[in-house]
């Protein structure tokens, strides 16, 4: 089969690789009908996340039709059935899964030992996202093996198109969880750093949940334009001070809720700060750039909430703990507990409350994937979200 394969930094190729096979009774094989390139795939493309190996198949946002099931599926899934696959692989039986904390499933990461060493305890296995999270082959391919498929799936109504439901596997529930864990109230100003796909989903979720003001911060004009279309007030941080503008919008008090939809590859608009982080990253004194976190802690209203859906991989530096502690800020973060939200979100799409396909700006064939990675990373041709069809 054809698949997008990681070969090294900025080197993804469309290769022919062996077809996946059923390896466990709870496995299913799906024929991928649509998949997307996620912003967090770029951390692998740029090789900021450790744990990738040559030959790994990329992709964790995908959907398709069941073509084969293991003996243990017990009729939960049937051949020909259409499912969206959540990016977090879940067993559904461990303590964390039972509590609904699916992204920290205790059993689905088959490289648990590595994760234990890196993070102290394992987190869930993820598709196409390093050997730290199980080394599972990803979904930017013609076929994918879905482990624990009897639990790791989202059933979707036939009347909804692939593009309407594809993002239930990652960015839509990620944006939704980011907004939900901010505990948004009708009097709140919610500031969201990053107007990429997750930022776009987050701001719409915050608006639906009833925030008084939703403010989106980025420097890419077309992304800010899309954010304004979704009802956000925008701040172009290459042109104006985020802190000053947020204070202006909140009567000097700062936003009650701050959401980081950027993560480890943040670009600080302050030259010295950005250079400092780049130098420290280059000499391996920190792995992630923390400029968004610093700004959020600084500008957030005391007793406010910081929600962090942006991906971080390792260590950061110069985090203002004094401000975080003295202002009494609450930090909520984590990979998304996808299946916890999807029943509700499917209904919202089906009811016409939101159509997540608004974010798609580029459609291409799987073979064009390597080129589309570059286009997406470099924000060429106004690219915000790419959907690939195998």
């Amino acid at each position: 089969m054809r698949a997008l394969v990681w070969h090294g930094t900025e080197d993804i190729r469309c290769d022919t690789v062996p077809d996946p096979k059923i390896e466990d009774d709870r496995d299913a094989i799906i024929k991928v009908t649509a998949c997307a390139i996620c912003g967090s795939d770029l951390h692998l493309y740029d090789h900021f996340m450790p744990g990738m190996e040559k030959g790994d198949v990329m992709g964790h946002e995908f959907m398709g039709e069941i073509v084969e099931t293991g003996k243990g599926i017990n009729g939960v899934l049937k051949k020909g059935e259409r499912i969206v696959v959540p990016f977090t692989i879940i067993c559904g039986e461990c303590d964390q899964c039972k509590r609904g904390f699916f992204s920290v499933c205790e059993r689905s990461n088959r490289n648990k030992d590595i994760a234990d060493k890196a993070f102290g305890h394992t987190t869930a296995g993820l598709f196409g996202y390093t050997h730290l999270t199980g080394g599972y082959q990803g979904g930017q391919a013609e076929y994918v093996r879905v482990p624990f498929a009897d639990k790791t799936h989202i059933k979707v109504p036939e009347n909804l198109t692939d593009e309407q439901v594809l993002f239930l596997g990652d960015i839509f529930p990620t944006g939704w969880q980011a907004a939900v864990q901010a505990d948004i109230q009708p009097t709140d100003t919610v500031a969201i750093w990053g107007a990429g796909p997750v930022g776009q989903m987050t701001l719409r979720s915050a608006l639906l949940l009833g925030a008084k003001q939703v403010v989106c911060i980025d420097s890419v004009p077309e992304r800010l334009e899309m954010a304004r279309a979704g009802g956000a007030i925008t701040i172009d941080n290459s042109q104006e001070s985020t802190v000053e503008r947020l204070n202006e919008l909140t009567g000097g008090k700062g936003p009650e809720k701050c959401i980081d939809a950027v993560g480890m590859e943040a670009h600080s608009p302050r030259a010295l700060e950005h250079a400092y982080d780049r130098v420290k990253q280059a000499v391996m004194l920190e792995s992630d750039r923390a400029s968004v976190l610093r700004e959020m802690i600084y500008v957030c209203r005391p007793a406010g909430i910081l929600s962090i859906p942006g991906v971080y991989g390792g260590l950061i530096d110069k985090v203002p703990m004094g401000a975080l502690m003295n202002k009494g800020l609450t930090v909520r973060t984590g990979q998304t507990h996808v299946n916890r939200w999807t029943d509700d979100l499917v209904k919202r799409i089906d009811d016409g409350q939101i159509d997540p396909s608004f974010v798609i700006t580029h459609r291409a064939k799987l073979e064009q994937g390597p080129e589309m990675y570059k286009t997406f990373r470099d924000k060429k041709d106004n690219c915000i979200k790419v959907v690939l069809r195998p």
């Binding site: 009708p186 420097s219 290459s238």
Partner: protein
């Protein structure tokens, strides 16, 4: 964007003030990837050279047979460091790379007198000048490519996302449409930790 406006934009605006507001918010240049990487490379090169000049200014001056130039070389080290930080940190490295070209000229002017008189290290001066000339040439190419790179907004005409709300109705009309959703208590924390105005409401 209307077709007429698109046509006009494709034909090229001479004045940025003629652009619609939503297209002029990003004045940065978007160079091709090779030029961008070259500029980044110069950033790191500047930092490395700056540190070397600061730490070994005396040794470099002696190697050139110009021992009195040691303080000047150290000062140039500070200049290189500033340029390196500027290149790596700025959203648009163009002015910093241009500053490197002026710096190169200054370097050449400083080293050139080493060829005069009875300097026993003229060979070293020659080596330094050849290296400086090479670096200057690449600096000039990089600065020119950066200066000629299109401004970001000039690429912005192909698509218009102003209607991409994702909502069936106006965004403002959708505010609070999901207000009935109750966030799970285990996600938002214990009730006792929420603001009193909410818990006592």
């Amino acid at each position: 964007m209307s077709e007429a406006m698109s046509q006009r934009y494709r034909s090229g605006f001479n004045n940025r003030s003629e652009l619609p507001n939503y297209l002029v918010s990003d004045p940065r240049r978007r160079p091709d990837p090779v030029t961008r990487e070259l500029a980044q490379g110069f950033g790191w090169f500047s930092i490395g050279l700056g540190l070397t000049e600061l730490a070994c200014g005396g040794a470099i001056a002696r190697w050139l047979g110009m021992p009195r130039s040691a303080p000047v070389i150290r000062a140039y080290g500070v200049r290189e460091l500033l340029q390196g930080v500027g290149i790596l940190g700025a959203s648009d490295p163009t002015p910093w790379i241009s500053a490197r070209v002026f710096g190169d000229a200054l370097d050449i002017a400083t080293v050139l007198p080493g060829l005069e008189g009875h300097n026993p290290h003229k060979d070293n001066v020659l080596i330094a000048l050849v290296a400086l000339a090479g670096v200057t040439a690449v600096d000039v190419i990089c600065a020119r490519n950066l200066a000629e790179a299109p401004l970001a907004p000039s690429e912005k005409v192909q698509r218009d996302y102003r209607r991409r709300s994702g909502f069936r109705r106006r965004a403002e009309a959708m505010r609070g449409a999901a207000r009935g959703f109750k966030p799970p208590p285990d996600i938002i924390g214990p009730e006792a930790m929420r603001p009193w105005t909410l818990t006592n409401a």
